[in-house]
Amino acid sequence: MSNVLIVVEAQPDGSLRKATLNALTAGAQIAAKTGGELHAVVLAKDAGPLANVVKEYGVKVVHAGSGAHLAQFTADAVAPAVAELAVAIKASYVGVAATQAGRDVMPRIAARLKAAMASEILSVVGSSAADLQFTRPMWAGAVIATVKLSTPIVCFSARTTEFPQAQKAGSGEVRAFTPAAPAKALQKVVSFKEVKSARPALTEARVVVSGGRGTKGDFKPIEGLADELGAAVGASRAVCDAGWQPNDLQVGQTGKVVAPQLYIAAGISGAIQHIAGMKGSKTIVAINKDGEAPIFQVADYGLVGDLFKALPELQAAVKAAK
């Protein structure tokens, strides 16, 4: 039996981080191919409420691990709890959404299980446990590799843009357990400087308007258009490096990977690391003064021109059409 265990992530307010639903779909695909059961684990000070939410999403069992030492989702607290559970329920696959928290904790869980791990998986290939493989990006997505992992337990993180969110499907069982607290916490979160925004979250928005070096740091036209469209604001690496916008807005290989219905890139030249973070978008618009900019190679619609002129015009046109 090849059971699958997905680690659930909560948002700072304790509610479900939606990315978990994408990971549950990856888990369900593996379970279907290998004939195993899909399990999930919630770890929190009081895991019960969130476990009751997760049980609705096609999961056989949600394990609710509660404890004061789990109040913060730190790798050294989470790893032993997940690893012990994985062994207890005979999980052959342990996965998480490839969020920052998922990327932080899953390799530590894998280390504890002496398991190899595939990061940012894009798809599950094969039809049984014997031939199960994953595809994953390498070289900033310039190459898609198919990989086979040969440890008894296999760990993975799933790229959220590549798996749809799990839908509600019946009600699974919630099983409470009490993970042992480590002798000493190795890490504590002292503070969190949140990027507050009334706009939709970058990774969940239907439309994203991103600005690059061409903005020279002036994001007013970007934000104006974004607000007219109800869109999220994104940025290129150069913009975040210069401190013009918070790092949390960076779209790209090492920032957020997004796949909205519409992505508008303004003043972004289109380095491969940026393109890696947005090329899954349904429709891509590029606006750039340099007609030779690489961004035009991935754009469905390219406009060679000054963003300071084009974006306000576009904003006015969107407004007029409402």
């Binding site: 190899a116 190795l186 059409a321």
Partner: protein, 268 residues
Amino acid sequence: MPIKILVTAKRVEDYESKIKVNAQGTGIVQEGLKYKINPFDEIGVEEALRLVAKHGGGEVVVVSIGTKDVHEQLRHALAMGATKAIWVNHTGPLDQMTVAGCLQKLIEKEKPHLAILGKQSIDDDQNQVGQYLAEWLGWSQATFASKEESLESEAEKTKQPALKLAADLSTITVVREVDGGLETVECTMPCVVTTDLRLNQPRYASLPGIMKAKSKPIEEHTPASLGVDGASKIAVTKMELPPARKAGIKVPDVAALVDKLKTEAKAL
């Protein structure tokens, strides 16, 4: 108090390289590629040098795993100012467990206070080794280390370390890039830190640094001599290019763009 820090210098393709898959789909075309130190590792070397400077001296030990070609990356780190270089001689595929295993054994020998690694290498893009290493050593981990000040700030220009070590080296305070903002964590020492993009801007090696680096000895090991299994548990069975996007068009003006978005893409 002088501190000892272990850092890494993986040899990777230059990030501006155009990566192509070979005709058999078994690997990438090596011809014409330039190789550099993994940019995240270089940030780690820089941060280690800044910490040592701030804390009244110490040692920075740099490790690289691979064929003799990695000497180039070790010399690069030595030229930046690292004090000692270790080469783990290995040919062929290498997974993250072998890398973390070798680093664990070297750390048990070298006994540094701290290890600073790149959060990922820009070839495999796995983002795993630091976390495996921390678990196997029983150390704390602080991944995706960053800072609140920008790379244009005064603190950056004066090469201040962003990682904050307690004077008695009992704790380290790290600003991390997490979803939704920046998180500050306090970790017990010893600790494995992995670097994100905006921790610092690495220095250029000075000419005297480059000259000095040429004559520094490089200590040699192998996974076997360290007692580590060198067989990869991850087999790449196929490599291919990502699906290409359908070629787009240029539009002459905003009105044409709006029209296309409405009627063709139905995105507005």
